[in-house]
Amino acid sequence: MGVTITPTMVGQVVISGLLAGALYSMVALGLALIYGVMRVINIAHGTLLMLGAYTTFWWFRLLGINPYLSLLVALPLMFFVGMLLQRTLVARVVDAPELSSLLLTFGISIALVNVAQLTFTSDVRSVEFLTGAFLVGPFAVSKSRLVAFAVAVAITAIAFWFLQKTKLGKAIRATSQSSEVAMVCGINVHRIHLYAFGIASALASAGGSLVAVMVAIQPEMGQVYTFKSFLVIVLGGAGNYPGALLGGMLLGLVEQLASLFLTTQLSEAVAYVLLVLVLLLRPTGLLGGRAT
């Protein structure tokens, strides 16, 4: 490799990494919620993100207004979609062995992706809205990435405020610790499952709405985000909500750093190798969490 690495490049990479990381954190928080509360491994998580992305696309295509405003519609919509999925399908495997929830969400994911193929066609879509970058000193900061970062941080902050300060949020955290104890304390655990899945779905779709402005939109786009969300959870520790934040940032940084030294293709494989390494060396996550 005949490229010298300058401090500017490293700085650029760190900035890009952090910007991307916030997005990963937000989406992964949703996955963490589902696993923490219900012990369900949601392989359809990326699919929910994809649905969010398409919502934003159609909003922009049909209404022509600022795609970021689609969040106002996408979030509640996907919240309800999530609750619907939970109520009709996922609820039935909550007490079953984890294998069942894996396969179930896998099946849901396949079905939804192909419904999207059928209705939206597999043409690659995009949202041309916020292009270009700000120049901050020697660093170029993509406008859309910055907005995505800001919104992701805001949404994640609200989510954490919700978990820490509100009654429902505390009930969710209690159920994550121990659903038996939560039940004994009078918490309606089934209701909690419903809300948790709804919130998680909203978080995932928010990620989708934000990336819609940045990347190519097609029905299979969600897969890689599902995988990365798992990676974040594994990094931060299963069931460890603040861990998801750290894990997301870490993933963002590592990915961008890897792209300095490897071709873009190979840096995709970096996420995978990272996952296997962490699973082998620290299966409880870098911050420590629950081992399955």
């Binding site: 495997v93 894996l102 896998f106 849901i108 897969q223 293709q265 299966p283």
Partner: protein, 306 residues
């Protein structure tokens, strides 16, 4: 009773063996693909049906075998038979590399690790473009060998079903199953679950590799998307879940039913057909976890080892 079953089996095999003499080109291709799916489904059953470790990336072994076999044929002039067997070996080596670290993980984590395998394989194929032809794919010298490949695929399907029979009716297979039933208890009872998981995984990788080699020869041309499609893994999974995981004939039943359906009905509607697969998985998991065969086993008190 047992002799009747064996006799029926023998007659069936004889008919299948004689089929190419009377069949049309389409008929041979149809059956050839059917055999391939039986072989793939049954292989997936060996790891995921028996040990309960869900392999979401199993098509990686098929693709590896396809590429290994194709490369040996084109660059080194091997005959496709031995080349495909080498493809099987390549797949087993991949399984060893992936399996040795990943099988130490508990079930769900293993499944997650396998999810990404597919993508990694595609990336690797692109990276080693010189060897694999990258995105432009690899062409094999022209050869019309449908008849031979029919028998090759048939032999593969037979072999892996035979292996399934041997395992499911033996104590070794029972040990595989304890991993699925209760891994902690199995360990506590003296079963070296790590080793058995690895054996099952390696075994489950071989035939897909070989069959991948046959497929490459049959198609005459392969590219990353044709041999590493997620749809292949999905199809394997649906076939086994539908037919009955962990049984000998479940995967066969699932493969035959769904392949026939696919060819006759759904092939024209690709996405509808995949939605159907997704729906079947959901349906089976919620309502029929042991598949069709499981339902029959319960209804008619059939033995576990069918």
């Amino acid at each position: 009773m047992r002799w009747a079953v064996l006799a029926a089996l023998a007659i069936g095999l004889l008919l299948l063996a004689l089929y190419p003499l009377v069949a049309t080109g389409y008929g041979i291709r149809f059956m050839l693909q059917l055999f391939m799916w039986v072989a793939l489904a049954q292989s997936w059953n060996l790891i995921s049906g028996l040990t309960g470790y869900v392999s979401f990336g199993h098509v990686a072994f098929f693709g590896t075998g396809a590429y290994a076999g194709a490369i040996l044929v084109t660059t080194h002039g091997w005959h496709w038979g031995p080349a495909s067997l080498a493809g099987g070996v390549a797949a087993v080596i991949l399984a060893l590399i992936i399996g040795y670290p990943c099988l130490r993980l508990k079930g769900p984590y293993f499944a997650i690790a396998m999810l990404g395998l597919n993508e990694v394989m595609r990336v690797l194929v692109s990276y080693f473009e010189g060897l694999t032809g990258g995105g432009s794919g690899l062409s094999l010298p022209t050869l019309h060998a449908s008849g031979q490949i029919y028998y090759a695929m048939g032999a593969a399907a037979l072999a892996v079903t035979g292996a399934a029979h041997l395992l499911i009716t033996s104590r070794v297979g029972l040990r595989f199953m304890t991993i699925r039933e209760d891994e902690i208890a199995a360990e506590a009872m003296g079963i070296n679950t790590e080793r058995y998981k690895l054996y099952a995984f390696l075994l489950s990788a071989f035939v897909p590799g070989v069959v991948g080699g046959f497929f490459a020869r049959d198609q005459g041309y392969i590219e990353p998307i044709s041999v590493f499609p997620l749809l292949t893994t999905i199809t394997m999974i649906v076939m086994v879940l539908f037919g009955g995981k962990g049984t000998i004939w479940g995967p066969v039943l699932g493969a035959v039913t769904l392949f026939v359906f696919q060819e006759l009905v759904w092939a024209r509607f690709l996405y509808l057909h995949q939605i159907f697969f997704g729906a079947i998985i959901v349906f089976v998991v919620l309502l029929m976890p042991r598949g069709i065969l499981g339902v029959l086993q319960e209804r008619y008190r059939l033995p576990r080892t069918i």
